[in-house]
Symmetry: C2
């Protein structure tokens, strides 16, 4: 059994590797912890064969490390989905609760809620849920910011941990599966005018950059 601290490190490293690479400082920043603490932990993780660590060069997950990270991420996203669907949590509240629970549920709990939810592939924010055997499709989407004027897109994914942002997105209807058309983009990173559910809505480019979208084609785009 891995400690909660270890699980949190693995999760963080996994997410940093996705973006670029996991260095001591980046991990420290992401976890809100002193860099020296990270160095310590990286040595322990290396001893446990969860990461490959070379001094001054950062870390990469080993296969067991990656497996463990994905299991926690699976827990997290399944729990988010469960809280939303079964207990009526609003989508801006699920992240914090899942952040705790993810470390403390059994295999049986995981299976039971997956079953209840009909083995969902995505959580309420559009994040893909790793499968039980550790597979996670790594699909990259464009952002709303890069979408050309006149193009109709479907929201795929939004950030999961900024609850204030999530409340705003819910308010204006920018949730996964929402159909959106870009009507206007002011120059110099100016505001962007959208049509969402027949309403015109103007958002800033910072928000637009955080909303991931995919082209809309009539035959329902499936990810398989």
């Amino acid at each position: 059994m891995l400690s909660q601290a270890i699980e949190d490190y693995l999760k963080t490293i996994y997410k940093l590797e996705e973006k670029s690479s996991a260095t001591t400082n980046e991990i420290a920043r992401a976890m809100g912890v002193a860099a020296a603490s990270v160095t310590n932990m990286l040595k322990r993780l290396a001893e446990l064969n969860l990461v490959e660590y070379t001094s001054h060069k950062g870390v990469t997950l080993t296969e067991p490390g990656r497996k463990a990270a994905l299991e926690i991420i699976r827990h997290h996203r399944l729990i988010e989905m469960y809280l939303h669907e079964a207990l009526g949590y609003s989508w801006d509240k699920v992240h914090d609760e899942a952040e705790h629970l993810e470390h403390h549920i059994s295999e049986e709990f995981e299976d039971k809620i997956a079953e209840f939810l009909g083995h969902p592939t995505h959580d309420p924010h559009g994040d893909p849920i790793p499968t039980k055997d550790g597979k996670l499709p790594d699909i990259k989407h464009e952002t709303l910011l890069k979408t050309d004027i006149g193009v109709e897109v479907v929201v795929q994914r939004v950030p999961d941990s900024d609850s204030e942002l999530l409340r705003y997105l819910a308010e204006i209807g920018l949730k996964p599966k929402a159909k959106v058309e870009v009507l206007l983009k002011a120059p110099f990173n100016g505001p962007i005018t959208l049509k969402i559910a027949e309403k015109e809505i103007i958002i800033g480019c910072e928000v637009a950059e955080k909303v991931q979208v995919a082209a809309f084609n009539n035959k329902k785009n499936k990810s398989k």
Copy 2:
């Protein structure tokens, strides 16, 4: 925020106080921990004003300590009920899962599942669930062992943590609310013959001692 260790100590002390009194050794035995560790912790708990501690005399919970203990117990029993009712856990599995989760759910989670369950007063084993404001009726029941021949009783409560026993009890139908008549009691702590749901069943006295019952009277005995 109290640590998980502290919460576990408080819960244990609460339960020992119910039976008799909480001494260092008893706590150590109940928690599977060395007595010296308990002494240490008792001092910390005293500093936190959670217990009244006098060296060599054991501890008693203070009001804040009692409140905290009851909150954990409320979590535990609500979670047990939820796992059973909402996720289809069998009653012999709920205890172990709840033992972990009880420390890691938020106020909101507690409220949501209580709401879902319709604010239940008892868990699947018949243990009463403390109210949110820390009230817990302390009702003592007779055991099946002490029930006289020919008397009809209703099962009220069974032990919650011995899953083997729970599977056995489920098999023979000895669950809370089951109506039972004592048909025969062999002398010298011999087996006891019961009628449960029209079937005759013979159980040992050790089991009979662990099943709490109340007299059956036609007008549904309520605990208020």
